[in-house]
């Protein structure tokens, strides 16, 4: 299927990119790796007048590990995150999420920024025009009905990003720049929870960096994912766990972030995980939306949210004990 027509822009620095965005607002779409954007364009889900390639931007690529925080440029490829020894060492769940995303050749192209900002998905939306022409317009296509949930008053499309839950587990922030101003927000604030407009980012705003604070004392983390084929597929349910201990070895934070459980990642906070494993699993189950709008039944995906939460916490605790 051919791509729809557009005009191509290719800024070479951030300032130039911000000016182009400021002048064109909603008519422009950013292309990083293009692995999410081009597929949606091919299906005519979006037909931007301008496509701006940010692949040539300097200063927004690479991993910079500092004492108090680690900064990952938006254009950093998932492949580089998955194989970075330092990310594997310090932020294991983030490395695992990158390793498990898509397939190796896709992660050679896919960027971390594009992964976070990939649009939400639904079996009744991510289809070609041929299929969609035969369906009533749903909320996400400007209609007033939901095809996945009969009588659904809102959109139930799903955030299937692997990176977002893992980054949120580490309390990551992101830097958004537009012409003349910059803001830094918690990654959780980037998500609206609304499937039609899932991101709280202006059309003239460029995500430039992701900042991960350096956790104090001991930390263990892990990412677990359910997918149809282990080699190429999107997550159908996932859980990132973060466990930290005080100097005396007492658990002082135990966080689980669910992916593919709704239009935004879902955060579940606990204090002591080992004693409350079952209760966190129950909370994960309660929090996950089990809708029949992805490749496996919603009820099963919801149960797996609880199972994956437990598996991720267990793996994180084991790593903590091993002193990772």
């Amino acid at each position: 299927m051919r791509l729809p027509p557009f005009q191509f822009l290719e800024p070479t620095n951030v300032e130039e990119a911000l000016s182009m965005m400021n002048a064109r607002k909603e008519t422009l779409k950013i292309m990083a790796g293009g692995t999410d954007l081009l597929n949606r364009m091919r299906f005519r889900l979006i037909e931007p007048a301008f496509v701006m390639n940010i692949g040539k931007l300097r200063d927004v690529d690479g991993i910079d590990i500092g004492e108090n925080e680690t900064v990952i440029g938006t254009n950093t490829k998932l492949k580089d995150i998955a194989r970075s020894p330092l990310i594997n060492n310090k932020f294991r769940a983030i490395a695992e999420a990158a390793f498990e995303a898509a397939s190796p050749a896709v992660t050679n192209m896919a960027t971390i920024g594009g992964n976070i900002l990939q649009d939400t998905r639904c079996l009744y939306y991510n289809q070609s025009g041929m299929v969609l022409n035969g369906l009533e317009r749903c909320h996400k296509r400007g209609g007033t009905i939901c095809l996945a949930v009969k009588g659904g008053k809102r959109c139930f499309s799903v955030c299937q990003s692997d990176m977002a839950p893992a980054l949120i587990a580490f309390d990551a922030k992101c830097v958004l720049q537009k012409k003349g101003s910059t803001r830094t927000v918690a990654l959780t604030e980037l998500f609206t929870g609304n499937g039609v407009t899932p991101f709280a980012i202006g059309a003239d705003e460029l995500l430039t960096k992701i900042i991960i604070p350096q956790p104090k004392n001991g930390v263990g983390s892990a990412y677990r994912k359910l997918r149809l084929r282990g080699s190429v597929d999107y997550p159908l349910a996932s859980a990132a766990a973060f466990v930290s201990v005080t100097k005396d070895g007492e658990v002082n934070a135990c966080r689980v972030v669910l992916g593919s459980a709704g239009a935004s990642p879902r955060v579940i906070d606990g204090r002591s995980c080992e004693t409350h494993l079952e209760s966190i699993a129950q909370k994960a189950y309660d929090s996950a939306e089990g809708i029949d709008n992805l490749q496996m039944p919603g009820a099963y995906r919801r149960k797996m949210a609880g199972v994956l939460a437990k598996r991720a916490i267990k793996a994180a605790m084991d790593r903590l004990k091993e002193g990772m």
């Binding site: 791509l3 027509p5 557009f6 293009g34 692995t35 037909e47 007048a49 190796p104 050749a105 192209m109």
Partner: protein, 159 residues
Amino acid sequence: MSEMKKTAITLNVNNETHDIIAYPNKTLLEALRDDLRLTGTKESCGEGVCGSCTVLLDGAPVRSCLTLAVAVQGKKITTIEGLRVGEKLHPVQEAFVNHHAIQCGFCSPGMILTAYALLKENPTPTETEIRRAISGNICRCTGYAKIVEAIKSLAEEGK
């Protein structure tokens, strides 16, 4: 709908420079097959899943169906046609032939380029590493056993 203008696109494919005039919405896959007539690169799913359109971009396997031709100017593109050494097949191609790792051949260009890139980076991969490397290349008829055997034979030889 926007007004789209054709532009001159310069591509470095298999160490040769090609100039084409095309709309910016042309994928690298379309440019290779339709403009340069390099039909070794195949289109199957057209949405990044199957790996049959794999080419190497500066040595790394990528999906040419999800790549804009206009965006890869200045990069080194390698297609299956660029692998042979003179009139002879490349050792990776030969290994696929010798191990019966090809049936219909549709996945083979992508599979061979992926194997080639793996062996360049890691001349002695383990079976797990081989399976991981080709995990995004889907074969619907040979099955993976023969393909893994072919790549393994080269790993053992350190080729």
